[in-house]
Amino acid sequence: MSKPEVAIVGIGIHPFGRTPERTGQEQGVYAVRKALKDAGVEWSDIQFAFGGSQAAGAADTMVSKLGLTGLQFINVANGCATGGSALFSAYNTIASGAFDLGIAVGYDKHERGAFRVNTRSHGLGDWYGKQGLALTTQFFGMKINRYMEKFDISHNTLAKISAKAFRNAEHNPNAWRRQPFSEEQILESDMLSYPLTKFMFCSPAEGGVALILARADQAHKYTKTPVYLNAAVVRSRRWGSFEVMAPWIALDDAAGPTVDTSKAAFEMAGIGPDDIDVAQLQDTEAGAEIMHMAENGFCEHGEQERMIQQGETEIGGRLPVNTDGGCLANGEPVGASGLRQVYENVLQLRGEAGKRQVPNDPNVAYTHVYGAPGISGVTILSK
């Protein structure tokens, strides 16, 4: 494995779900204060920040509550990869030698129901949304529908993904939906976008996460249990890939940005998929987790059917996936979602994940996000 240059030395989270009494920004501030305490530092020690929210205002306004220390604070906006992009930027700021200690923060607060898409902000005409296209849920339904036919994935396997998410979340006090559902309940809930039912989709939600990063060679100043960032990569789509918010797709077929991002991250870390002990993969719906298992290199296309039926991605399985309940049980506050995955992996690597701790003392962990209009972010962490 490559020699890490950057470590995560403090983590903080505001519970995900609905918190009517706090604004999105207040949830972000709450997460920052938790992370500072975890690292044993003061806000005035932080030299730089990258932060983002999609629907809850500019992150740099947090300084009015946290303290006007004059630090460099840069807002990040990159769809579902906002958190991943904040982390990527913070990682490079330390790796470049510009600063020694900084923070990546993300938070959000979305309205109820499916994401309301502003087609113009995606560079698309009004006609696209007016006629009832431009729904992220449609893309997910269409991608998994084709995938299920091509690679023989069953409806029951979709249901098993959701059942696992809610079961894992039962042991996560920061998760939103912590009530287990049976596979039958999941399959029989409202059909929102065939073949995906209501309980197979995550919902836009609220929450905040903050991570404090330091130079790897200084990490022990702050914590006995540093977690190293061996890779942080973000990529966008190439010609021929099939992406959300696409009025057309090229005739040629190409792999999506997740495949490129994953390969680059493994190369950067100098390891392969077999070295990963626990993974958090973007599961905006049950089909996404299935397809992302293969796109990230953890199995061949179609192999998921057997793996999931045999429980290989359960907490006690060969490759535990989405141990905190994922997006399905936590919801998706866009700015915070990618950082939540890293938060969970830090807990798992520290051995602090409580009842959802994966056994066998994990050493290497993986996160993956995917978002509109075809971007992906991956991190690889180790202890």
Partner: protein, 141 residues
């Protein structure tokens, strides 16, 4: 009584006896996209020209929109909402186009089935015009 008007000028030829979708074709590498745009996302050239697309293709994938989309942006009738089909149709040798489908029945829709272009009324605008958009229907056998 108003007229029939297209949901957006330039998206398809209208009015016309046989309306067609209007995409663009790169004059350097031949890549076709829809709707028409000024740059080529395959070869990065800016030498593109509009092109009327074929009217038949194969259903590449599909879903059924089971709940009323948020309005705005959706302009269809939310109160009398009926689920509708959505899919990508691979127009022969040209491009895959995302489209509403005239069928919303999972027993009928099948990946690979032959489809053809049609036009459907979406809603009535403030001036009483019937707003028309494109859709694909299973090819009558």
């Amino acid at each position: 009584m108003g007229d029939q008007v297209p949901i957006e000028e330039g998206l398809f030829t209208w009015p016309s006896d046989s309306p067609k979708l209007v995409g663009s074709e790169c004059q350097d590498c031949g890549a076709i996209v829809f709707p028409a745009q000024s740059g080529c996302p395959r070869c990065t050239s800016d030498n593109t020209e509009t092109k009327e697309l074929g009217t038949r293709g194969k259903l590449w994938t599909w879903t059924i929109q089971g709940f009323p989309p948020k309005s705005p942006p959706y302009q269809g009738d939310v109160d009398a909402f009926e689920p509708f089909g959505v899919g990508y149709v691979e127009i022969h040798n040209e491009v895959k186009v995302e489209t509403r489908l005239t069928v919303a029945d999972k027993e009928v829709l099948e990946i690979g089935m032959e489809m053809e272009l049609t036009f459907i009324p979406l809603f009535t605008d403030d001036e009483g015009n019937e707003v028309i958009t494109f859709a694909f229907a299973p090819l009558a056998s």
